[in-house]
Symmetry: C2
C-alpha cells in the first residue's frame, strides 16, 4: 500500500465541492443508455437519446455557416490559396478573407503560438465589430481571445477571489459554470434570485438586499455576474434595468461580469440586445467609472460552433498594473487556439451586403434564427399545456426552464431513493423517452420549487415527436404519483 | 472613488506570486522594440527581433506537415469531401483519413462539443498509437484530450493541491508552467536539482534528500514532475534512471507526472525515448502499483503545431472515484477544441509505409528533425566557444541552456539597476542583437550560477548570422565588464 494514496479524502476538497450538472449524473446515465442501445436497439422504449441538456446545436444536426468554414479550411491548409482549383471550390470573398487574415498573422503561421491575448489583427477586427454593434469605441488591447468563454470566466474568478470571504453575486438560477468556478477558486457564491413571476425579472432591490446580507456575514463582495440573455432562464434585460445594474455596480464598486454569449439569440420582437458596455457608455460612464468584463463565445449565436472553442473577453476599467496580471495569467497558457481566434473574428465581422457570400450567409443565418423562434414557441406552448407546469417564454438564449409542481408522492419517492425531486423527474423522463434535460437543482431555484432546463435545439421536424413523447411521459408520471 | 477598488493589494495574492518568464519582461521589451522597428527600421542596431525565447517552430518559418493540414482542412469544411475537384487538390489518404475521422464523430459534427475527454474514436486511435509506441496496452478511457498540455497540468495540480502544506517535487531548472501552476493552486514547489556537471543528471539520492527535507518541514509531497526530454535542459533520461524514478514514486506513493511532450525530439544516436508507462509496465508494475500521468502535446515534436492547442494526458493508477473527479473537472470546460483533438490523433498515427502520403510525410519529418540536430550542434559548439560559457549538449527537446560565468562588475551593474544578473545579460543581448532568450532565473538554477535558455529553432540558414551576432555581443559584454 502506497504511503500517500490519492483518495477522495486526500484530494483538493474544492474539486469535490464543485458541481456541474450540465454534464452531471443524468448525462452520464444517458451515455450508459446510449451504449446499451448500440448493443441492443430494443433495450429501451426509444431508439435514440436526444440530448437537450446542453446548448450544442451542431450535435443535433444544425449545419455550420458555410462562409465561416470556408475561411477556416483555407487558413488550415494555406497551400489551397495558391491553387487554381480553389477558385471553383470556395467563394471569392472567403478566399479574400482568408488571405487578409493570413496577412495579419506573422509569417502566415496559423500553427504558431500567437500573442497571449490573441493575434493583434484579429483583435482589431473584433474591436471594430464591437464598435459597429455598440456605437462606442473599443480597444483591441482590451480584448483577450480565449478557448470559449469558460476559460475567461475562470481567469476573472482566479483574479478576484482570495478566500471564502470573497463573494461573487450570481443569479439564481445560474449557468453552473459560475458556481463551479467560484467553488474551484474557493470563494463564496452570493445568490440573488431572479423573479419567475415577472418573467425572471432582475430586481436591483434584490441585489441590494443580498449584498447587505453578505456584508453582514463578513463577505467582501467583489463582482456581479449578469447573464443576458439569461441562461437557463432565457430572459432579455430591458435597457432601463441594465442602467440600474450599471449604477448599482458603479456605486458599490463591483466588477460587472457580463455574460453576453447569447447576444445573437433574441427571439421576440419586443426585446433587443444591448451590451452592458454600450449601456454604461451611453450613461456617460467611462473607464474610470465602472469596471466591466464582457464575455463572448463562438459556441452560441446562430453559428453554434461549440467544438471550435473560440471566444473572447473585453475588459475595461482595470488599472494598468491589474491588466498586467491578467496578461500574465493568459500567458501561462500561451494562447488560445488559432482556429477559434479566427472564428471569433468572423463572428464579429460576418459577410456584409455586397460581399459575394452575403446572400447565402444571410439565408443560412435567418433560417436558423427563425426556426429557433418557432421551436421555442412550440415547446413553450406544449410545456404550458402540461398539468402543473408553467414556463416563461424564451426571449433569448437556447433554453426553456419550466417549473413543475411535483405531487407529494413523487417528492417522497425521490426522497426514498435519496435524490432530489427534479432529478427524480429528469431520470424518469430519460428512462421513458430518451430525452435528456438538466434538473433545476443544477442551476439553483427557490427552495421548494422544481424545474428543468431543456434546450430548444432539436431540429424542427423532430419537435412534434418530442412534444408527444414528453406529453405522454408527463401524463403518466402525474397519474402515477397524483395524491 | 469606488468602495471596492481592484488593486494589486486586493486581488488574489497567488496571481501576484505566479511568474512565467517565457513570456515575461524580456519578451515584453522585445515586443516594444519590434513596434519601434516598425515605425523606424533604423531605431536599433538590428532589423528584426529573433524570438528564441519559446519553442514555437512555425513562428520562425518551419512549415507544417502537409498531410496533417490536409486532413484538418477537410474536417473544417466537410463539403469538400463531396466535390470532384477535391481529388486533385488533396492526397488520397488525407481524404480517406478525414472521412474516417468524420465517421467517428457523432453526426460528423466537428462544430459540436464532444465528450469531455474528447471524441471516443480519436481516443481509440491515440490509445493504439501509444500501444504501438510502448508495446503495452493503452485504454482510450484513460485519455483526456486537452487544449495543449498546459490545461492538463493545471488540472492535475488542481486535483492534488489542497494547501501550502502540499508539495510537488519539481526539477530545477524546470519549465515554469509548473512553478506557475503550483503557485496559482497555492501549493509548495519542492525543488530537486538536476546536476549540470553530469549533463543535467537526475539523481534519485537528490529526490530522497529533498523529499525528506520537505517532510521535515511538514510538507506532504504528493507528486513528482519529471520532464523527459528535459526543458530547459534538453537531457534524455536513461532507461535505468527511469526505473529508479518509477521505484521511488511507487515506494513513496507519489503520483508521477511525466511531461513527455518532447518525445519525438531526440537528437543523439546514443539516447532513446522511453515513456514512463512503458518503463513501469516493463518492470511488471500495473494499475495498482503506480499512479502515473503522461502529458503529450501537438505543439512539439517535428510538427510543432503550437497554434492548434492540442494535447492529451493519459492517466493510469487512479481509483474510479478519483477518475470521476478528473472527468468532472474536464466537463466544467466542456471539451477541448476539435481541430486540436483531430491533430492529436494524427500525431499519434501519422501516415504509414504504403500510404500515398508516406514518402512526402517522411521527407518533411526527416528534413525537420535532421536540421534540428545540425542546429543544436552548431549552436552548442558556438556557445562553448565563448569566454566563460559552458553548455551541455541538447540530447532532445528544443533548447540549449548554457551557463555563463558573469564578471563581478556585471553582477554589480545588475544590482545597481535592481535586476538579476542573468536578466541584465539577456536584456543587453536583446538591445544589442534583437535576439530574445529567457534568463535562467525564470527556470531556477543553483544559487550563484547564471544561465539562459535559447531555442534551437531559427531556420538553418540563419544560424551563422545568429552565432556571429551572439559572439560579437558576448565579446563586447565581457570586455565591458571584465574585472
Amino acid at each position: 500500500m502506497a504511503p500517500n494514496p490519492i483518495t477522495v479524502d486526500t484530494i483538493n476538497p474544492k474539486v469535490l465541492e464543485c458541481e456541474y450538472a450540465v454534464r452531471g449524473e443524468i448525462v452520464i446515465l444517458a451515455q450508459k443508455l446510449q451504449e446499451e442501445l448500440k448493443i441492443n436497439p430494443k433495450s429501451h422504449p426509444f431508439d435514440e437519446i436526444l440530448y437537450c441538456n446542453i446548448g450544442n446545436p451542431q450535435s443535433l444536426g444544425q449545419k455550420p455557416i458555410t462562409f465561416f468554414r470556408e475561411v477556416l479550411a483555407l487558413c488550415s491548409y494555406t497551400v489551397l490559396l495558391d491553387k487554381a482549383e480553389t477558385q471553383g471550390l470556395f467563394s471569392p470573398d472567403s478566399i479574400k478573407r482568408a488571405s487578409g487574415i493570413l496577412a495579419q498573422i506573422p509569417g502566415r503561421a496559423t500553427g504558431a503560438y500567437s500573442h497571449s491575448q490573441g493575434i493583434k489583427g484579429l483583435r482589431d477586427t473584433i474591436a471594430a465589430g464591437i464598435e459597429a454593434r455598440d456605437g462606442f469605441s473599443a480597444d483591441p488591447n482590451d480584448i483577450f481571445l480565449t478557448d470559449g468563454a469558460s476559460p475567461a470566466v475562470h481567469m476573472m474568478m482566479q483574479l478576484l477571489i482570495r478566500s471564502k470571504e470573497d463573494g461573487i453575486l450570481c443569479p439564481i438560477p445560474q449557468y453552473p459554470l459560475y458556481s463551479a468556478s467560484i467553488a474551484l477558486h474557493g470563494g463564496t457564491l452570493v445568490p440573488y434570485y431572479l423573479d419567475e413571476a415577472t418573467g425572471w425579472g432582475l430586481e436591483v432591490s434584490e441585489l441590494k438586499t443580498q449584498l447587505e446580507t453578505a456584508k453582514s456575514k463578513g463577505i467582501s463582495v467583489r463582482a456581479l455576474v449578469v447573464i443576458n440573455p439569461g441562461n437557463p432562464t432565457g430572459q432579455v434585460l430591458a435597457e432601463d434595468n441594465q442602467k440600474q445594474i450599471v449604477d448599482f455596480c458603479k456605486n458599490e464598486g463591483l466588477v460587472l461580469l457580463a455574460d453576453e454569449v447569447y447576444q445573437e439569440n433574441i427571439y421576440v420582437p419586443d426585446k433587443k440586445f444591448h451590451s452592458f458596455k454600450k449601456v454604461a457608455r451611453a450613461m456617460g460612464y467611462g473607464e474610470k467609472d465602472i469596471t466591466l468584463v464582457s464575455f463572448q463565445s463562438v459556441s452560441k449565436g446562430y453559428h453554434g460552433e461549440c467544438g471550435k472553442r473560440g471566444g473572447y473577453m473585453e475588459i475595461t476599467g482595470f488599472a494598468p498594473e491589474i491588466r498586467e496580471q491578467i496578461y500574465k495569467l493568459a500567458s501561462v497558457n500561451l494562447c488560445s487556439n488559432i482556429s477559434g481566434q479566427i472564428l471569433a473574428s468572423l463572428v464579429m465581422s460576418p459577410p456584409k451586403s455586397g460581399d459575394e457570400s452575403y446572400e447565402s450567409y444571410s439565408a443560412e443565418k435567418d433560417a436558423i434564427l427563425s426556426s429557433l423562434v418557432r421551436r421555442a414557441q412550440q415547446l413553450e406552448k406544449a410545456l404550458n399545456g402540461l398539468e402543473g407546469v408553467s414556463c416563461n417564454r424564451a426571449e433569448g438564449a437556447m433554453y426553456l426552464f419550466p417549473r413543475v409542481q411535483l405531487p407529494n408522492k413523487a417528492i417522497e419517492a425521490a426522497k426514498a431513493v435519496n435524490t432530489s425531486p427534479d432529478t427524480f423527474y429528469a431520470r424518469r423522463l430519460l428512462n421513458a423517452t430518451g430525452i435528456v434535460v438538466v434538473p433545476g437543482s443544477g442551476f439553483g431555484q427557490v427552495p421548494g420549487t422544481w424545474h428543468f432546463r431543456c434546450t430548444i435545439l432539436p431540429q424542427e421536424d423532430r419537435i412534434p415527436a418530442i412534444i408527444s413523447r414528453l406529453t405522454d411521459f408527463h401524463k403518466g408520471f402525474m397519474d402515477e404519483f397524483r395524491g
